[in-house]
């Protein structure tokens, strides 16, 4: 069956909400410089201010405007989401598809490697690495990606194996098609749904891990990151302004993660025929 993902997404309620939320975050990320009233890095205001008309969410310990930082933080989260999403998907595809297509010893080695890597807790490893190099956003994307591609690669491999055995692929071979043609014209287009799912999952995980690491203090101090803001907030919990730093930031982070989760859920519903049937019964 031919599935149009856009129609599927917009037909599903979760999908609609997820998309709306993602659009909002995207809008904020893109237009933060215009929406923010102050430079997020500018420490020229009074410190520890409560919310006021001047500073909607007050200021922090060095006098930066929290509202401006909140808006600008969206960019960081989305950048991580996109970076991890793209990089992980790429790794999963190349490794998973090549294992399925080449097969034999190579396949077995790759599969055992995946088994080995999947038990390594990515979080701990990154904390360890961060002990030596303070990661900036790109290092972080790289680290998260190379530690979390295994699940995706497994999915891609399984799907490629089944695609490879399709009659349509055999038919293409009987026209004289070589491997390259088959990969480009038959395997990759048919992997797109899986790849999209892998992308959404990786993006969600990327946002979550980045925030988590920053919350633990593992982040370049100069980046404007929601996780880092929450980390700072907790350092001043004895002052009553901390909640203005923590709650809006937490909400923003939740909205972003939920956007991805909802989209992912909607896609899964669209792709899994069993879920599709249930969905229809729900409607009736």
């Amino acid at each position: 069956m031919h599935i149009n993902y856009w129609t599927e997404l917009t037909r599903n309620n979760f999908g609609k909400i997820g998309l709306a939320m993602l659009c909002l975050v995207l809008f904020i990320a893109l237009f933060a410089p215009f929406l923010a009233r102050y430079d997020p890095g500018e420490p020229s205001h009074a410190i520890f201010m409560s919310p006021s008309f001047e500073h909607w969410l007050g200021t922090n310990d060095i006098g930066q405007d929290i509202w401006s930082r909140l808006l600008c933080g969206a960019k960081n989260s989305l950048l991580v989401a996109l970076g991890v999403g793209v990089f992980t998907t790429l790794l999963s595809t190349v490794i998973g598809a090549s294992a399925a297509l080449v097969g034999g010893l190579y396949d077995r080695i790759v599969m055992r490697l995946i088994d080995a890597l999947i038990v390594i807790p990515a979080f701990i490893v990154i904390i360890l690495v961060a002990a030596y190099v303070l990661p900036n956003v790109w290092t972080l994307i790289f680290l998260i990606s190379i530690l979390t591609w295994q699940g995706g690669a497994r999915l891609v491999r399984a799907q490629t194996l089944s695609l490879k055995e399709r009659m349509s692929v055999y038919a293409a071979r009987t026209f004289g098609a070589n491997k390259r043609y088959i990969v480009i014209r038959h395997i990759i287009p048919n992997l797109s749904s899986i790849l999209f799912a892998v992308f959404i999952h990786s993006a969600t995980r990327g946002v979550f891990m980045e925030a988590g690491l920053a919350f633990l203090g593992i982040a370049d101090i100069s980046t404007v990151s929601w996780g880092l803001m929450m980390h700072h907030a907790l350092r001043f919990y004895y002052l009553d302004v901390w909640k203005w730093w923590l709650i809006p930031t937490g909400l923003a982070l939740s909205v972003t993660i939920m956007a991805f989760v909802f989209i992912g859920h909607a896609l899964e519903t669209a792709m899994d025929p069993r879920l599709r049937v249930m969905e229809q019964e729900d409607w009736q």
């Binding site: 349509s168 009987t174 026209f175 004289g176 014209r185």
Partner: protein, 608 residues
Amino acid sequence: MIELRELEVMYGKRRVLHGINLTLKRGESLSIVGESGGGKTTLGLSIIGLVEGTVRGEILFEGKNLVALAEKELKAIRWNRIAMVFQNVENALNPLYTVLDQVSEPIVVHKLGDRNEATRRAGELLNRVNLPEGRFYAYPHQLSGGEKQRVLIAMALANDPDLIIMDEPTTALDALTKVEIINLIHTVCKERELTILLLTHDFYAASTLSDRMAVLYAGRIVEFGSTPALLSNPRHPYTRGLLRCYPSMTTTKDLQGIKGRMEFFDVGCPFHPRCTQSIGICREKAPRLEKNDGRFIACHRGGIIPLLELRDLSKSFDSLKAVDSIDLTLYEGETLALVGESGSGKTTTAKLIMGIFGATEGRIYLEGKQILGRDKSFYQRVQMIFQNPMESLSHRLSVLEAVREPLDVQKLGNREQRESMVRQILDEVELPSSETFLNKYPHQLSQGEAQRVGIARALILNPKLLIADEPTSALDASTQAKVVKLLLNLQEKRGIGMLFITHNLALARKISDRLAVMLKGIIVEEGPSNEIVSSPLHPYTEDLLKAAPTLSSRVHAVPERTSERNDGTGCPYANRCNKVTEVCFNEKQRLSSLSTHKVACMLCTATD
């Protein structure tokens, strides 16, 4: 008795006969067959010296060259030694004389007796040809066609000749009269030890009246050999084409024609424009009639070429022998039906040929060359129609993209050329080539449409060999009929060799020249379709035939499992065969030849 050497006849500038060499011994009968306009009558007339064109070469009759003979000497031979039964019954008799007078005329003219003697003899002859006595004094217009033919035969016999040339003696006669005339000719010739030269396009007359047969095409003999051999196993593409056009109770395949029209060529093989296996040399040089495996064939390619040969082909999946050293040969322009129940290894065989599976053992030859690796050019010549059209079409490709895919892969033509080729092939498989249809996706097509898209994909590269794996099993009867007709038409036009895989024997019989019955990876019986259908040898084939669909209301008994034993050492049918013996379980039979069939069965080979 008579020998033609390099006989040539020209009508003005037009050469009607080219270098005919034939020898006919006393008492022998030879038929010359071919389409009308091929030069048969000219050949007959040139022997009795009545042809109006220029004759070159030699016609040796008992040592005398008839071509060089003066008209007076020729007259002595004509009708006394060589007589002819002319083709056109209506015009051959003079309407003004009674038949008795006409039969006695040659006797009188050649002064073999006086008028009374001649009339007496004519009466005898008319009696001999079973013309009722009351009709002796009838005028030709009062006689029926069959009666006139009898009179003509009596006339030819009048002077007791040694050689009779009969030009279409049975054409235009109804079936029963035809048989009567054939029987008459047969007995008369036997009792008088006549030598017959039969010129006809009627294979029935030729098969019953002649020992040897020459096929004449556009003034050249293309195939020459013993009549039964030529009929059961034609080797020249033209002979096969003629036989495919001839409706008879023995052939089971649907009628097929020969593409194009007959034209006379001075250079090159005369048949090349209509031949589906012609190569460059066929256009440039006329082939000589050469001895080839017990007969003479005039073909640069040595007759119909074997297109695909499988030798000892085997494929095992772990311990399961899906295909167990099979031998098959598929000739150019032929349909070989591979019949058997599901799981018998038919599809595996197809996939082995296409290279989807690698063979465990054995060799595959294409046009005589062993296939070692398969490149793009291989797939240009060999294509496959897949069993399930919906699966073999990618759901992401529109009709246009799917049908264009083979061209894209092979990088043939530019974008516009490819698109016009797609439209053309869709026309050929009777699908619309409108924009809306081209942009449809597989799930928007019906089963029949999808299968025809599959066929179009397989045909767009113009392959010589088509592997059709159950191409119609998913279709309803009317669509199936269309698809089958289409494939047969394409075979006629392009000479596609087809390996038609099916479990439907009733269908296989209508479309195939030869049948191979497969069971558990081995071929148990192989031979011409009509013979397998009319006299199956292997019990499995018999049971398959019993189970084949008929329109009678009888319910057929399904062969019951007679034994649970089957460890794979014996005959694969042993546990279901009702004629099974102990030996069947222990020994595997190899395919061995038995008359025109090949069969792998203990019982058939043992009793013979």
